[in-house]
């Protein structure tokens, strides 16, 4: 589904990603961990197409297409979803209005008819239940005045609405209390099918108790220095990153 080879990217002339190789297949869940500043969020942003970052080397394909040649919106329409670490507030724009445009834009891209008002409302009701999102929030402005937990639930709600092929969740667990974490993580699990894939970027093992990864990668200084199965996350939780970093230096 997603294939990345030797990906280098920089921002303001500073190289953040320094040769990433990474492969995600349908049905898989990958976790990306690593110390602060290792490039995890940059990787997510580059894959989503954030123009702030410049790809200097390497390539990436998504569902057989050249991902890096696509605009942000075309990546989204092709089925790539990014759950933002800091969801953005959009004053004056209601969630319902925003989602209706987004859903119908994506449908248009896939040659489907736009949803009728009734179909759309039904879909919203159904999907807000996935993350126990208060239905009232959908009539409010996007993320405006939402609590930290509501913002993250809202990201997963949008993921449910858009039904992406590949979801990259950038620290979706940060700033969540235990209940909100359970709801958000359970929501992600419910949305997982053999046809789609999820990449979760996280600092904490606890998210992976719910979203069990097939592969755990450790990113350090812009490179994946180690990959392992789900037990790697537990080991990292207990022992930290130092042993890996030392191994990497040697």
């Amino acid at each position: 589904m997603l294939s990345i080879k030797n990906l280098h990217a920089s921002v303001d002339g500073k190289e953040i990603l320094r040769g990433i190789d990474f492969e995600v297949k349908a049905g898989e869940v990958h976790a990306i961990m690593g110390p602060n500043g290792s490039g995890k969020s940059t990787l997510a942003s580059v894959l989503a197409g954030n123009e702030k970052f410049t790809v200097t080397e390497g390539y990436a394909t998504f569902l057989g297409q050249d991902l890096l040649a696509m605009s942000i919106e075309d990546r989204a329409r092709a089925g790539l979803f990014l759950g933002f670490q800091y969801p953005v507030e959009i004053p004056g724009v209601t969630m319902a209005n925003f989602m209706k445009l987004a859903v119908n834009e994506q449908r248009k891209f896939r040659g489907q008819e736009p949803l009728s008002a009734a179909e759309f409302l039904k879909l919203m009701r159904e999907k807000s239940a996935v993350v126990e999102l208060d239905a009232k929030l959908t009539s409010r402005a996007v993320n405006e005045g939402f609590s930290g937990g509501e913002k993250k639930k809202n990201e997963i709600f949008q993921m449910a609405m858009l039904d992406p092929k590949l979801a990259i969740l950038d620290e979706t667990d940060s700033g969540l209390d235990i209940d909100a974490l359970r709801i958000v993580a359970t929501g992600v699990t419910k949305l997982h099918t053999p046809q789609n894939a999820t990449v979760v970027i996280t600092h904490y093992q606890r998210l992976l108790d719910y979203i069990v990864p097939d592969v755990v990668h450790v990113l350090y200084k812009g490179r994946i220095i180690h990959s392992g199965d789900k037990t790697l996350a537990l080991k990292l939780e207990k022992e930290g990153y130092d042993w890996l970093i030392n191994e990497y230096k040697e």
Binding site: E73, R77, L82, E89, V93, F98, F109, L162
Partner: protein, 275 residues
């Protein structure tokens, strides 16, 4: 502006320079005045009325609105041409006046509002959209001449190209006008490096028991919000349009005529697409 013409054709046209809206008026149907050089509107005590003023031609006009005790007036002023308008509002006790001004061309409007009776309330919403080399001016002077009045203004400006926008606001509170509650906000967005907006909200207060606030901001489109919307599949144009609608919507929809607000939003969005 076919949609606008359609809506207005259903309203009562004001032909003369003087209009008195009394008890016998049908309050439901709004009045409309197009390109009036001079117009004086009186709203009788306790009467509610709605008025739409349209400036299509580049003419100067002088308008005055007099609200008697307890009268309510909602005015929506639309600038489609480079008009120059002076608008004077005088409000008696317990009256309430809501003004909404939408400038879709490089127009110049100056509002002067006198709150002359206790518990008079003024609410003003303004939006200008200055493109290319247009120059939009909005001036608002609200005078709290007596105690216990409220005023609330929200002025928004968008300028692109080489356009210039100006907002000059003044809230004046007379020495005896205690317990005045006045709010004045100016929010502006620049779409280009060469566009300019000057926003000057000012307060002149001679009473000591008052609640007054004012503020002005000039910023750019929110790049993060645009990115966020595009990540969900919206095109750049759609994301910009949605953001501008979100920015302008609360001012434009302040106008008390729902369908007119929607038509104006549509016009704002269409103009935005060219900016």
């Amino acid at each position: 502006m076919a949609a606008l013409t359609d809506i207005l054709s259903g309203f009562r046209s004001v032909g003369s320079e003087r209009l008195r809206i009394g008890d016998d008026s049908d309050a439901v149907q709004p009045f409309v005045a197009v390109d009036s050089a001079k117009l004086r509107v009186e709203v009788a005590a306790g009467v509610s009325a709605r008025l739409v003023v349209v400036h299509e031609k580049p003419l100067a006009s002088s308008l005055s609105f007099l609200l008697e005790r307890g009268a309510q007036l909602e005015v929506t002023e639309v600038f489609l041409g480079e008009a120059f308008a002076e608008v004077r509002t005088v409000q008696a006790a317990d009256s309430s006046c809501c003004l909404t001004a939408v400038q879709l061309a490089g127009a110049n409007v100056s509002y002067r509002i006198d709150l002359d009776g206790a518990h008079a309330a003024s609410r003003v919403g303004g939006l200008f959209l200055a493109a290319e080399s247009e120059h939009c001016v909005m001036e608002l002077r609200t005078a709290h001449n007596v105690p216990d009045c409220t005023s609330d203004s929200l002025m928004k400006g968008i300028a692109g190209g080489n356009a210039v926008g100006e907002f000059r606001g003044l809230v004046y509170v007379a020495p005896d006008a205690q317990r005045t509650d006045a709010r004045q906000q100016s929010r502006n967005i620049l779409l280009s490096e060469t566009a300019r907006i000057d926003a000057k909200p000012q307060l002149e207060i001679y009473a000591d028991d008052v609640k007054c606030s004012h503020g002005a901001t000039v910023g750019q489109m929110d790049a993060e919000a645009i990115l966020y919307m595009r990540q969900r599949g919206l095109s750049l144009a759609q994301a910009r349009r949605l953001q501008i609608e979100g920015f302008a919507g609360d001012v434009v929809r302040r106008c008390g005529i729902g369908e007119l607000g929607e038509v104006l939003m549509e016009a704002v969005a269409r103009k935005m697409e060219t900016m």
